[in-house]
């Protein structure tokens, strides 16, 4: 094998285009005769649609068409169920109600699309939207999760008996017995609120129907071009081969761009075929706050049973999960929460029960973290309270409960988001936590610095939070690797890319096998014309699932290269090496042949290719993991609070990740930094404020607070490597790892900093105002 490229800080292939404004994003697509769309969206969160007068809009100069639900006729169909309920789980209740292209009977969340205007320009389209007169009869709204389930609550879906969207219980061991044996039982209510993914690029879609070739091309800001292609073909009565979906450069995904089908994804291609004109719709930032999915809202009533020495005997969690107005994404998020509420701890008795609730709010689907931060938040909060109650150091109580290295693979006996048994494939947890402790100087800080600073009247706090991340779930991804006559390598895969550097990390995997320069490997992802099969980029699975498919395909191509080269060079394969784009005989430098030459010979114009062999140096391969690979990590933080203003400054931030084999540490660090920044947003800055009428009160970047460069601390990243036995490369996902533990970590640090006030924080996100309230309430008591 040639010198290893895996694990090198290779610069990214995609950067020159991105840095010079030459990379194509969806809004960059220009087509002659392109029309522009704007949607009329509901001001009300819950209202009956009595009528709409679009005549004035239709008459406005420059307007080509205005469509309502009625105009779609039989083509009006709700979106497909994205993820069906788990077949393997017992007595699971699930009521599937999917989002609609345009409101027909009633509006179920503010900002739901009611009509679309197609015009010569976006400006004119927006003028025309203001011309439309809508007759809405406002209805009582469903916003609060608990009220939503009370009898007599207004219904989001009139045909259901209640707002219960799903119910699922899972059990491991016997919690009740464990509880009876416990020395300490803690019961708390923990409330987690909603945030937005807020990718810098809003969603967008361009649809171009070519009447002559009967072919539809769609550029879409999606994380899943292939399922979109398949779904569009089915919806529009076309063959999958008549539809090409391209997910070009995407300005950040973070989950919501995995959601299928958004109303606009259903309407725009349909309208393009109807009008036989290309149409572009680009979501604006305000729309993004209503029309793009969100996540995190849950209320947990959770109970933990411990022994005097701090061992967790059992955990019981009963929680509500807000799915918004529809539930196309099934139980993915609550399942993740259930699987992560045990953290990386050896918990023998566990009972978890979720009720998923419909509300008059924007749809909920995974946002970077996807239910995991909630799970980690509750277990870590409980352990912090327990450590105080039992007088056991916060680190020590965690150490005592971590799953020991010899216990892997560790079977939890409940099912995960992919409906396969939750098995933690591999890990070595304590050393990871230890490294984080060393990096942040935990002992010294607690022993010397903190007491000294507290004497000075300063409020500094430290926190440390271990966590797991289930990653790299199935079903599968595939890839095709081709050696071209130029000697360059072409790789096609189905997953889209949203900034993860796939064009580089995947290229490294291929270059490693074929002994070429990373820059000579061209990755094409997210174009259904290049690769037919696949699902998408989600659940931190790109590097794991697609990465290993590419690795497998590249290995086959390597074998083909060696077979052919050994013939051409009349040398046994084991004497050949692949280096610098050449196949060489180990110790005879001039006895060599280039990959390009071999590729040409493998695809002759004359002569015969031996029966049973394939032309070219190409292979297609697929990879589907038996179950997800579980990564582990630990974050640590030191922060200071101004106890008068409740303003917070993060002084130190440390992460140690064990995500198996590291393909490219540069890219890995970038993923972690970004994850942490979203996590810090979730912990302290980012909250979607819905009022009691389902009105979103902060649908702008002026009021929805994303951390900026002045809020973010420097992040020190450490690595450990425990290869996953589940795949050749030994990789585990890391895309969401940075986000998952942060709210828990932050709450722990705040409590520690305000130790003198003995706050107990049972919610996230926090804010200066909220901390002041919590403190005032405590004072009042």
């Amino acid at each position: 094998m040639t010198k290893t490229l895996i694990g090198k800080r290779v610069l990214r292939n995609e950067d020159p285009r991105l840095l010079t404004g030459q990379a194509q994003f969806v809004d960059d697509v220009e087509i002659p005769g392109l029309l522009h769309a704007a949607f009329l969206r509901s001001d009300h969160a819950h209202a009956r649609l009595l009528g709409m007068d679009v005549s004035a809009a239709r008459q406005r100069p420059g307007v080509v068409a205005v469509f309502t639900a009625e105009d779609m006729g039989d083509d009006w169909q709700p979106g497909p169920p994205l993820v069906s309920p788990p077949p393997t789980a017992k007595d699971v209740l699930f009521y599937s109600r999917r989002q609609v292209p345009l409101v027909k009977d009633k509006v179920r969340h503010a900002g739901e699309a009611m009509a679309v205007v197609i015009a010569e320009s976006r400006y004119i389209a927006e003028d025309a939207v203001e011309d439309i007169v809508v007759d809405l009869e406002p209805l009582e709204t469903v916003v609060d999760l608990e009220k939503a389930l009370q009898p007599g609550s207004p219904l989001v879906h009139d045909d259901l008996e209640s707002n219960l969207a799903a119910h699922l219980s899972q059990k491991k061991g016997d919690y009740e017995t464990a509880r009876r044996q416990a020395d300490l039982v803690l019961k708390r209510r923990i409330v987690i609120d909603r945030g937005a993914a807020a990718a810098m690029e809003n969603r967008g879609i361009v649809a171009d129907w070519d009447e002559k070739s009967q072919h539809l091309t769609v550029w879409d800001t999606t994380q899943a071009p292939i399922p979109i292609r398949n779904g569009l073909a089915a919806r529009l009565g076309l063959s999958e081969n008549q539809v090409r979906v391209i997910a070009p450069f995407i300005g950040g995904g973070f989950g919501p761009k995995m959601m299928m089908f958004y109303a606009e994804e259903m309407v725009i291609p349909w309208a393009a075929m109807k009008l036989k004109r290309p149409i572009k719709w680009i979501e604006d930032r305000r729309e993004n706050f209503y029309a793009t999915t969100q996540e995190r809202g849950q209320i947990h009533d959770v109970e933990i049973a411990l022994s005097r020495d701090g061992h967790i005997l059992g955990l019981k969690d009963v929680f509500l999960h807000d799915t918004g107005a529809y539930d196309p994404y099934g139980l993915t998020i609550p399942l993740n929460t259930q699987c992560h509420a045990m953290g990386g701890y050896d918990i023998k008795n566990y009972s978890t029960d979720v009720s998923v609730v419909f509300t008059n709010k924007t749809l909920v689907t995974p946002v970077r973290g996807a239910g995991r931060p909630q799970g980690i938040y509750i277990i870590e909060r409980l352990l912090d309270i327990a450590s105080k109650e039992l007088g056991i150091d916060a680190v020590e109580i965690r150490k005592r409960n971590l799953i020991p290295a010899d216990a892997f693979p560790y079977k939890h006996g409940i099912i995960d988001q992919a409906f396969s048994p939750l098995i933690l494939d591999s890990g070595n947890y304590w050393p990871v936590m230890q490294k984080a402790l060393e990096m942040i100087g935990y002992e010294k800080f607690v022993r010397d610095e903190q007491p000294r600073l507290r004497k000075e009247g300063r409020h500094v706090g430290i926190a440390i939070t271990p966590f797991i991340e289930s990653t790299g779930v199935g079903p599968y991804e595939g890839a095709r690797v081709t050696v071209e006559a130029s000697g360059r390598i072409h790789v096609a895969t189905g997953v889209g890319t949203q900034g993860q550097g796939h064009f580089t990390s995947f290229a490294q995997v291929v270059a490693q096998q074929l002994g070429v320069a990373v820059s000579d490997v061209r990755i094409v992802s997210g174009d259904t014309a290049e690769f037919h099969w696949g699902t998408g980029t989600f659940a931190s699975r790109g590097a794991v699932v697609a990465g290993n498919a590419i690795h497998a395909a590249a290995s086959i191509v390597r074998r083909k290269v060696l077979e052919l080269a050994s013939k051409e060079l009349q040398t046994p394969q084991d004497e050949l090496e692949l280096e610098g784009g050449m196949v060489r005989v180990a110790d005879i430098p001039d006895k060599s042949i280039s990959l390009g030459e071999l590729a040409a010979r493998a695809n002759p114009l004359r002569g015969a290719v031996e029966p049973g062999t394939e032309p070219g140096l190409e292979a297609t391969s697929y990879f589907g993991p038996r179950y997800g690979a579980t990564a582990f990590g630990t974050h640590a933080m030191i922060l200071e609070i101004d106890p008068e203003t409740m303003m917070i400054e993060i002084k130190r931030y440390v992460t140690v990740e064990d995500c198996g084999t590291v393909l490219n540490p540069l890219i890995l660090e970038g993923q972690i930094h970004g994850g942490v920044s979203l996590g810090i947003g979730n912990a302290y800055y980012e909250k979607l404020h819905f009022d009691e009428n389902g009105q979103l009160l902060n649908a702008s970047f002026a009021d929805y607070l994303i951390p900026s460069a002045t809020e973010m601390p420097r992040i020190e990243v450490g690595h450990m490597e425990t290869r996953s036995p589940l795949n050749e490369l030994g990789t585990k996902g890391v895309g969401e790892a940075g986000t998952i533990p942060v709210p828990a970590l932050f709450a722990q640090a705040v409590e520690n900093a305000l130790a003198d006030r003995e706050l107990e924080i049972l919610e996230t996100p926090l804010s200066p105002n909220r901390l002041y309230e919590l403190w005032s309430q405590k004072e009042a008591r």
Partner: protein, 151 residues
């Protein structure tokens, strides 16, 4: 959003009550309202023009007066919708005499704002609604004083 407050008028309660029965008076008090058409016994319609500095929205408005207990209390419901969104306000007013020629009005209510203004203008609601109420009651007091003077 909850609103609560009180205002002392310079006039007797009966006269104040009398004024509140007059759509012209109500129109004059509602900021930016030119006129109100009476559409039912206690129902009025008109254009309410809310203006906050550069931000101005025309709302097709409706005013309903219910559970009247002359000359003590009643419930005013204002509803309006326009391009920038919608607003709905329900307010209970309760008037007690405060010695000769003084009337104390206590008001409590809910203001609901929706649509564009709600989604990007939230930081202004509180002061805007308080400002508008102050403005309306101030105007009403002016007219009350005028009416008293004209007697």
């Amino acid at each position: 959003m909850r609103i609560e407050g009180q205002y002392t008028f310079d006039g007797p309660r009966e006269v104040l009550w009398e004024l509140l029965q007059d759509p012209k008076v109500l129109a004059a008090c509602l900021p930016g309202t030119q006129s109100l058409r009476q559409v039912g016994e206690h129902e009025y319609e008109g254009e309410i023009g809310v203006r906050v500095g550069p931000i101005s929205g025309a709302f097709a408005g409706q005013l309903t007066v219910t559970n009247e207990v002359p000359p003590v209390s009643s419930t005013l419901t204002v509803e309006g919708k326009g391009k920038v969104g919608f607003l709905k306000g329900v307010g209970n007013i309760d008037m007690t005499e405060q010695g000769p020629g003084k009337t104390l009005m206590k008001y409590t209510g809910e203001v609901q704002i929706g649509g564009k203004v709600a989604s990007v203008g939230q930081r202004l609601f509180d002061s805007v609604s308080r400002g508008m109420i102050e403005q309306a009651l101030g105007k009403l007091n002016e007219m009350l004083k005028a009416r008293v003077a004209s007697r």
